[in-house]
């Protein structure tokens, strides 16, 4: 059996969870309808009133919210309570457009931190642990969320924020950090830096890491676990719903338990908006159940995901979501097959390549073509033409197995994949030019 922060709710029978959800959704919808004119208008247009929502089964009647709504309603349009009741804002980085600002009452902060506390305890955290939080602090939800969770568990909390790796390592070694919270890419970097400084994985006291806020693969997990000598747990969340802790992994490491007493999850067809049955792959949609300041109903995350209610060995009864497989707006339909850049990335990492690649989709003679330019790493280069061509063939084979369609792979020199503002342009869809 696992470790729980709130065992009575985390292991509650399904009927009990449903009862809690049904009771909360009725109140939540009424609260939004009465306080958020923006959403009231959406409901009115759809002909739905709070009286129509009697249980979570009725959530499918509600209108969706998208990132575009958040932009349009920026900054106060979706606020559901007086500002005098709010104690905090958090915000997104705004890399994909206008930033999202989320508001919190003390109640909202408490429930968010509780969710993070559940994640820390699931990773083996107790009040005897030293929890080093190197997610960014400030507007970003990562630092404040895990910091609050760590306080609730009673860990000695190291509010490091991100960066200054030498100092991270010094505190980690001097104070004997046992739990590390940061992005997976920073965890990998810390691992490399420790090795460079001459430390072996067994030299640190870390036992667990809670990593999230960016996509990472199973291969990356194994490599971080090895380099730090820990067990690495995934955590998921988004500013729109509160922050990290919407869902978290238990020791089974086979998906993240969604905190269903606070967030109701649906999987929908991204094209039609239709709710799909359990086990289907589709877009993840969240409805908050008991937030005061910024309760979003049916918020489309754009993350492509699968939900499962299969019994978990940890004893938790809350539904599990898989690691997001990509974003619905990243999805390419090539010759009728759904292709996600993340699948291509997984193959590249599996085969020992860098994740520097570019996907070029075109239409030649009414048939879609898929070309993938992959940067060659120095240690993979041979002076023989045949070696390089065999590498391309091998990659094409691995891609075909993963994607279900065969691409043409081209190895290209390092740094030749076009980057804009430091971020690689992953997809060029030339079909749009022809249409």
């Amino acid at each position: 059996m696992g470790n729980y922060y709130q065992p009575e709710i985390e292991t509650a029978p399904r009927e009990k969870i449903l009862e809690i959800q049904n009771e909360k959704i009725v109140k939540q919808v009424r609260h939004v309808y009465e306080n958020v004119p923006y959403y009231k208008k959406l409901m009115d247009e759809k002909g739905v009133t709070p009286d129509d929502i009697k249980s979570v089964d009725d959530i499918k009647k509600l209108p969706f919210l998208t990132k575009a709504d958040l932009r349009e309603a920026y900054p106060y349009g979706l606020l559901a309570t007086d500002l005098k009741n709010c104690v905090r804002i958090q915000s997104t980085s705004g890399t994909t457009g206008k930033r999202v600002v989320a508001f919190y009452t003390q109640h909202d902060i408490d429930l968010w931190e509780e969710c993070c506390a559940r994640a820390i305890v699931a990773a083996g955290g107790t009040n005897e642990d030293v929890c080093q939080v190197c997610y960014g602090y400030g507007l970003f939800t990562g630092g404040p969320g895990l910091n609050g969770g760590s306080h609730k568990v009673g860990c000695l909390t190291l509010p490091m924020s991100s960066g200054n790796t030498d100092r991270q390592i010094q505190f980690m070694m001097d104070l004997g950090s046992t739990i590390l919270c940061c992005t997976p890419s920073y965890a990998a970097y810390i691992g490399e830096s420790l090795a460079e400084a001459g430390y072996k994985p067994e030299d640190n006291k870390l036992k667990a890491g809670i990593f999230g806020a960016e996509p990472w693969t199973e291969e990356m997990r194994r490599s971080i676990e090895k380099s730090l000598g820990i067990k690495a747990y995934d955590i998921y969340g988004l500013t729109e719903t509160s922050g990290p802790g919407v869902s978290f992994e238990c020791e089974e490491q086979t998906g993240m338990h969604i905190n269903e007493d606070h967030f109701y999850a649906e999987i929908i067809d991204p094209e039609t908006g239709e709710v799909l049955p359990e086990g289907s792959k589709g877009e993840l949609v969240f409805t908050s159940l008991d937030k005061e300041a910024f309760p979003l109903l049916r918020y489309r995350t754009r993350d492509i995901c699968v939900l499962t209610r299969k019994k978990c060995s940890c004893g938790r009864t809350h539904v599990k979501m898989c690691k997001p497989m990509g974003r619905s707006d990243d999805m390419l339909i090539i010759r009728g097959v759904n292709v996600f850049p993340s699948q291509i990335e997984t193959v590249l990492l599996n085969e020992g390549y860098t994740p520097n690649y570019q996907i070029i989709v075109d239409r030649v003679n009414n048939s879609d073509t898929l070309d993938i330019n992959v940067e060659l790493a120095p240690d993979q280069f041979s002076d023989k033409v045949s070696d390089t061509q065999s590498k391309e063939k091998a990659l094409e084979g691995a891609m075909r197995t993963m994607l279900g369609i065969g691409p043409k792979v081209h190895l290209v020199p390092p740094k030749s994949v076009v980057r804009s503002e430091g971020k690689a342009v992953r997809v060029i869809d030339k079909r749009k030019l022809h249409d």
């Binding site: 120095p378 280069f381 023989k384 390089t388 061509q389 290209v412 020199p413």
Partner: protein, 139 residues
């Protein structure tokens, strides 16, 4: 004695080769021998230069570069010299991955750069025929 050849991965696009050659020129590195193997997408440029270490350092900042030991043999510039060497290679089972040749002048002879699967065996063959194998300095 094997000498070091630089192999550079080059995109098959106008100006790419120029960039490399120019970088070497700016660093005052002299090219003694070269060849390009080309495919539709890329080429592999093979170079024997006056200063391999320096050239590698310069090119590595923007290109993928690898160093491969190859054999440079000197022979007389007349019909049949190469055939005679290759006959012995075939007999000894030395496989040639690729090669390129150049002549200096008829008096000075011809040179062939050989990338083979077994440098030691190739050198033995050449030595037994009295063919000079060049070192990095003499080339």
């Amino acid at each position: 004695m094997a000498i070091n050849q630089l192999s550079v991965f080059v995109e098959n696009k106008p100006g790419k080769l120029l960039d490399i050659v120019k970088a070497l020129a700016d660093a005052n590195v002299n090219i003694r021998a070269m060849s390009i193997a080309d495919t539709k997408d890329f080429g592999i440029l093979r170079l024997i230069v006056s200063d391999t270490d320096k050239a590698k350092e310069i090119l590595s900042s923007d290109c993928v570069v690898t160093v491969t030991p190859v054999i440079a043999a000197e022979m007389s510039d007349k019909a049949g010299s190469l055939a005679s060497i290759l006959e012995d290679f075939a007999f000894e089972g030395v496989n040639i991955e690729y090669m390129y040749a150049f002549t200096a002048s008829t008096e000075l002879g011809a040179y062939v750069v050989l990338r083979v699967d077994d440098n030691d065996a190739a050198e033995r063959v050449l030595k037994s025929k009295g063919i000079a194998v060049l070192d990095g300095v003499s080339i």
